[in-house]
Symmetry: C2
Subunit: 550 residues, 2 copies
C-alpha cells in the first residue's frame, strides 16, 4: 500500500490552500481555501482550486479537515460542498466561522460539521488523524498528525511559535516532539515567512503598541484590523477597559465574527464596555474606541468611506487617531496608501505598519521553521503554503538542518508525491489549477474572456454598423459608430467622422461580389480602422463591425 | 513685490514633480516629471502634470531647471516643450538623458539645452539661480539656491547624504550651510523617505553585496537594475573587472544610458571588459555578467522574457545567479514576485531586496532630512516630493527641530503660497492636476472614459441589435447578440438564446406607438437584460442596444 500527497492549491501561491492525502480507497482533504484575484483577473471576485479530482473520486472522500478559520483555508468550502457532501472536521471557532459562510450559501442545514479538540483523534478510513494545537493570527488553529499504513505525516497548517499567546494556548510542542520521537515519515510545513530571518514577534508585542496609542490619543481611536483576528480585537478591548473607553464594533464581518467568538467564549467583552454605534453620540470622543473592518483599503469598506467622508455614521475629525493594525496584503499597497493619505488630510493621526510596531505576522520565521523541523525530525520534507520562492527558501533551511536533498520535495498544485515505506516518487500530475468565480457563476470566465476584458479595459471598444442592400451590395444605412471607453464622443466628433469616411471609402472600393462576403467585409473594415487608429493615436481598441443585410 | 511658490506636481504623489516660482513677470519651473499610471487608470501610458497655468503665462516663463535625469523629473518635458519653447538648464549627464528623450519626440533640434555646473549661477529674470551638488541614485544631480527680491529659497531636488559616493562627488554641505548662514527664507526639501528613521546607507554598501555575489556565483551573473542608476552599473562593472568577468549590457535604455554616461565620462567601462551579446557564446559562463533592464517586472522587458524562457538570446540555466538590484516600486510587487518565482523554477539562484542588502534608497531618511534643515535654517519649510503622508511626516520633523508650526506649509498641487518678506499666505488655487497620455494622444481620456473602461474590463460588453420596420414597428431582423469579455459564447448558447427570447418578449409587449420611440425601447431592452443578468449571474456587463429602422 502507498500514500499519495496531492496539493490542489497553496503550493506556488499565497492562498487557495488545499491538500489531499490518498491511500487505497480513502481520501482526506486538508483545508479548502480561496485566493483573491490578481490584477489581471479582471472582474473575477474570488479564485478557488480546481477540485475535479475530488469530484471524480467523490465516493472515496472521507472528510475535509480545516486547520483554522481564515478565508484562504475555508473560502472554497461552500463551492466544494455544493458538489460533494462530505463531513467537515474543525475546532469550535473554526466551525463557528464556517457556519456563517455556509448559511450565506444555504448549505448550513445539509452539511455535517463535526467539532474536534486538540489531541483528539479521529478515524477516517485508513487515516488516523490527530489534531495538534498551533498558534497563529487567528485563535483555535491546529495542525494535524496523520497516522497511515505507510507511516506518520505531520501537516502544520499555518503557524508561528508564540511563546506568550494572548489566550495562553501554546503551540503543542510536546505533541510535535512526540511525533519526532515516534518517527515521522513526512513533514508538511508553512513556508509563508521563509524569507524572514529570526523569530516572529509575539502577538503580545502588538498589545504594548496598542497601549501606547491609548496612552497618547486625545480624541477617538479607530482601529482597523482583520475581523478574524480575535486576539488583536481582544487586545484592543483590554486596552479599552484599562483606559476606560467604550468599544464600538463596526463592519458586518467584524460584528459577526466577534459575536461567534463571544458565544463560544473565545472573546471577552464586558457588556458595559460594548456600546452600539448610535450610543456613541452621547459619549465624549476621548472615551471611545471603534474597531472596524477595512484595513486592506477595500473601496467599499467602512474605513474607506470614513477616509473620504462618506460614512453614514462616523466622520473623521481633527485629532482622531486611526490605527491600521494589519499587514498590507500584496496588491493592496496603493489602496491602503490612498486611505492613509485621505485620513491625514482630514486631520487624523494615522498609525500603520511602516511607522509603528502595530502589527506582527501570524507565520513562523526561519528560526521557528527550523525548530519545527528539529522537533518533528521527518524523513521527507515538503514545504507548503507559499509562492515558489518561499518553498525554495524553506527547502534550503531543511537542507541546512541536514535533511537529505533528495528527500526534500518542492511540489506544486497538481503534483502527486507517492510515499511507499522509505521511498518517495513524483508521479504524473493530476488536473489542478485555478477556477474563477465571477458573481454567482463558477468557471465560465476563462482565458479568452479575460484577454477580451483586458483589451476592452485598456483601450475600449468601437462598434461600427452598416446596413447593406442584399441584392446590390449598396450601403443603405450607416456606417454608424458607437464607442465606449475609447474617447469622449462629444469631444471627438471629428475623429468619428473620419472613421466613418474611411469605412465608406473602403466599401466604395470593394467590388460588388466581394460585398456579399460578410466575413471578408468585416475583416477589411476592422483592419482599415485599426491601421488608422494606430497611425493616428497609437491605440488598439476592440473593433466590432456589424453588418445588416436588408 | 512678492514671490509665489506653485507646485504643479509631486506634492501629494510620488512622481510628476514640477514646481513653479513666480515673481512679478518672471516664472521659472523646476523639473517636469511624469508619473506612471495607477491601477485604475486603465490603458493610460503615462501621466503628466496639467501645465495650463504655464501655457497661459508662456511669455513670462524664463526657463526650466532640471535637477536630475530621472523620469519623474524629466518625463513630461517633451509634452511641455511641444507647446512652449523654453530653454532647459541642467548638468551634462541630465542634458544627455534629456537629449535622447527629445530626439524620440523630434524636439532635439528646436530646444535650447544649456549645460550648467554645480556652483554656477545663472540669471533668469528676477531669479538668480545657483546649482548645488547633491547625492542621489543617479549621478550629476543638483539642488538649487534661488535668490529672489523677497529672499533666498533652497530647493533640494531629490537627495540623500551619501558620505562615500561612488564618484567621490559629495553633497555640497558647504554651499547649503552658506545659505543657512546668509539667511534663507524657505526650504523645499525631498520627503520621499520621511517615514524612515535613521540614515540611508551609502551606495557603496551595495558594492559590498555585489562583490559577495561575484565571490560565490558559479555560473553566469545577471544583474537587473534601473538603466539610469549609473553608479550601480559602475559598481557591477568594477566587480566584473576585479573578478575577471566580461560585461554584457542588455536592454535598449540600458545601452543608451550607458553610452551617454560613457561619452560624458560618468561611466568607466574598459573596452576589453565590454562584450556584445553575440560574443557571449564564446566565453565560459563563469566569466560573464549581464547587466539588464526589467527590474520592475515590466511584462515585455528582457528580464521578464528570460524568466519565461522567451528571450531570443539569453536562456536562464540551472546555477545562474540573478540579482534584482532595485527597489520595488509600489504597484509592481506582484509582477516582480512572479518573475522571481519563474527564475527560481528555471533553477536560478535569485537575490533580491527582501533577502539581501542588494539595494539602497536614493532618498534621505529622517536624520538626513533633519541635517538638511539644520544646515539651511529656513524661516519657512515646505516638504516636497511625496504623498500626503510623507509630507506630514516631514513637517513633523521640522516642527521637532523648532521651526514654528505656522511657518510650515503642506502644499498640494495647484496651491499658491505667496511669500512677502516675512509673511507667507496661501492664495487661491490655480488649475492643476493629472493629464493622461494614452498612445500618442494627450488629455482625451478623462474620467468618463476611464469609468467605461473599468466597467468593460470587469464584466465585458453585450451588443444587442434589432431591425425594426419603420411603419409597423415590427421586428424584422434580430435580436442578435454579440458579446466580448462576458462569457465564452460557444459555451453559453443557452444563455444567449434566453437573452434573445427575453428581448423578443419585451418587444412583443410594447405598443406600436412606443416602438417608434427608440430611446425608450433601448432603455427598456437594457433594463430588462440587466435585471436578468443580475438575477442569474450577479454580473453587470455594459449593454448596448442598437436599433436599426428599416
Amino acid at each position: 500500500m502507498s500514500l499519495s500527497i496531492i496539493p490542489l492549491g497553496g503550493l506556488g501561491e499565497i492562498g487557495l490552500n488545499m491538500m489531499l492525502f490518498e491511500c487505497g480507497d480513502d481520501i482526506i482533504a486538508v483545508d479548502a481555501g480561496l485566493m483573491f484575484p490578481e490584477e489581471e483577473m479582471l472582474g473575477v471576485d474570488i479564485v478557488i482550486p480546481d477540485f475535479t479530482y475530488l469530484k471524480e473520486k467523490r465516493d472515496n472522500v472521507r472528510g475535509i479537515i480545516i486547520t483554522h478559520g481564515h478565508e484562504d483555508h475555508i473560502g472554497a468550502l461552500p463551492y466544494i460542498l455544493k458538489e460533494i457532501n462530505i463531513p467537515v472536521y474543525a475546532t469550535p471557532l473554526t466551525i463557528g466561522l464556517i457556519k456563517g459562510k455556509l448559511r450565506e450559501h444555504k448549505l448550513d442545514e445539509t452539511t455535517e460539521l463535526i467539532p474536534v479538540k486538540p489531541r483528539q483523534i479521529i478515524d477516517l478510513g485508513c487515516f488516523n488523524v490527530e489534531f495538534i494545537r498551533v498558534t497563529h493570527s487567528i485563535v483555535d488553529g491546529v495542525g494535524i498528525g496523520i497516522t497511515t499504513p505507510v507511516g506518520r505525516i505531520v501537516h502544520t497548517g499555518d503557524f508561528k511559535l508564540d511563546q506568550t499567546p494572548v489566550d495562553g494556548e501554546l503551540l503543542d510542542f510536546h505533541k510535535f516532539s512526540e511525533y519526532g520521537d515516534k518517527g515521522t515519515l513526512a513533514l508538511l510545513s508553512d513556508s509563508t515567512n521563509s524569507e524572514r530571518e529570526g523569530y516572529t514577534l509575539s502577538e503580545r508585542e502588538v498589545g504594548k503598541a496598542i497601549e501606547n496609542v491609548f496612552k497618547t490619543a486625545k480624541k477617538r481611536i479607530i482601529v482597523a484590523t482583520f475581523a478574524s483576528n480575535i486576539h488583536r480585537i481582544q487586545q484592543v478591548i483590554d486596552a479599552a477597559v484599562k483606559f476606560d473607553r467604550k468599544v464600538v464594533l463596526n463592519g458586518k464581518s467584524m460584528i459577526n465574527n466577534a459575536q461567534v467568538a463571544l458565544d463560544l467564549g473565545y472573546l471577552k467583552l464586558p457588556p458595559k464596555t460594548w456600546i452600539k454605534l448610535d450610543e456613541m453620540k452621547n459619549i465624549p470622543d476621548e472615551k471611545i474606541v471603534i474597531i472596524t473592518t477595512g484595513s486592506q483599503g477595500e473601496p467599499m469598506s467602512s474605513l474607506a468611506r470614513m477616509a473620504v467622508n462618506e460614512h453614514k455614521d462616523i466622520q473623521i475629525e481633527e485629532g482622531d487617531t486611526v490605527v491600521l493594525s494589519s499587514r498590507v496584503i500584496p496588491g493592496n499597497e496603493k489602496a491602503i496608501s490612498r486611505i492613509i493619505n485621505h485620513l491625514f488630510r482630514r486631520g487624523a493621526n494615522v498609525i500603520y505598519e511602516d511607522v509603528s510596531d502595530i502589527h506582527v505576522s501570524g507565520h513562523a520565521s526561519q528560526e521557528e521553521q527550523k525548530l519545527m523541523m528539529c522537533l518533528v525530525r521527518p524523513k521527507f520534507f515538503i514545504p507548503i503554503h507559499g509562492e515558489y520562492r518561499h518553498l525554495i527558501y524553506h527547502a534550503r533551511l531543511a537542507e541546512m538542518l541536514g535533511i537529505n536533498k533528495d528527500n526534500i520535495f518542492i511540489l506544486e498544485d497538481g503534483d502527486v508525491l507517492e510515499l511507499n515505506g522509505d521511498v518517495a516518487v513524483k508521479k504524473e500530475k493530476i488536473q489542478a489549477g485555478r477556477v474563477f468565480v465571477d458573481g454567482k457563476v463558477i468557471g465560465d470566465v476563462g482565458n479568452i474572456v479575460l484577454r477580451d476584458r483586458m483589451r476592452l479595459g485598456s483601450d475600449g471598444i468601437i462598434i461600427v454598423f452598416i446596413g447593406i442592400e442584399k441584392m446590390t451590395g449598396k450601403v443603405v444605412t450607416g456606417p454608424d459608430i458607437v464607442t465606449r471607453g475609447f474617447v469622449l464622443e462629444e469631444e471627438s466628433q471629428e475623429l468619428i467622422e473620419e472613421m466613418k469616411k474611411v469605412v465608406l471609402d473602403l466599401l466604395g472600393q470593394l467590388e460588388q461580389e466581394l460585398m456579399s462576403d460578410w466575413v471578408l467585409v468585416k475583416t477589411k473594415v476592422r483592419n482599415t480602422l485599426k491601421k488608422l487608429l494606430i497611425k493616428k493615436m497609437d491605440r488598439k481598441p476592440m473593433i466590432i463591425p456589424i453588418i445588416i443585410e436588408l
